[in-house]
């Protein structure tokens, strides 16, 4: 069967609701299906990638380090909308570095995060076969 293009759209902040955590669980399971996978972080979804999240004092699971494992699951197309970052006073430096090893380039370590404009993201959305929202 030909592979399909799956896009996971993340628009919700982490911790206030469970959607970010349970969305990440789908991405990790889905990686085994060898489809073409992309993740988009839009609006409050960009907060999911913030550095230095520490949930000790609210007692819930700190799943944020798991994003760093996405590269190992061959999930390396991570799109973050520029306008969503700007609205929140954030830049790429505020986000965790997410990388993957490019097997077509002698396993060089490369950046998974692509900061994109709304127009670019609109085009990425249109290229998909399956769009998942949580």
């Amino acid at each position: 069967m030909a592979s399909k293009r799956f896009l996971y759209i993340n628009r919700k902040a982490p911790h206030g609701t469970v959607y970010a955590l349970e969305s990440l669980e789908v991405v990790l399971i889905g990686a085994a299906f060898e489809q073409d996978v992309s993740l988009a972080f839009i609006d409050d979804g960009v907060y999911q990638l913030m550095r230095n999240q520490d949930t000790t004092a609210i007692g819930s699971k700190n799943f944020s380090p798991t994003y760093k494992a996405l590269g190992d699951y061959d999930v390396s197309k991570i799109y973050v909308e520029q306008e969503s970052l700007e609205t929140r006073g954030l830049s790429k430096d505020d986000l965790m570095p997410l990388t993957y090893e490019d097997e077509d380039d002698d396993w060089a370590e490369k950046d998974s995060i692509h900061i994109v404009s709304g127009a670019e993201l609109a085009e990425i959305i249109e290229q998909q076969d399956v769009i998942l929202n949580f």
């Binding site: 628009r11 839009i42 609006d43 959305i125 249109e126 998909q128 769009i131 929202n133």
Partner: protein
Amino acid sequence: MPVLHIVNKSPYDRNSLDTCLRLARADAAILLIEDGIYAAQKNAAASDKVQHALGKHPIYALQPDLQARGINPDNMIEGISLVDYDGFVKLTTEYDKLQSWL
């Protein structure tokens, strides 16, 4: 074939309609369901941006949700098309990517 954007939240409570309008390409359609149908009402604070969006996108609203909320079709922004659930299904066959702005 292009994207059908589905918006189910009131434009006064959440940012989902705004984000949808920011990221919908000119060939995409928009369907308002559930509390999203409040965006279809005319003479309201969100009416101008919806009116403007009608220049770029076909916009549909789910009639059962309008009726449940007491929005009279006469109070709808002109140019928005009403569909029932059969029409909703038909739209999802005519557009091949479905994006729900949850």
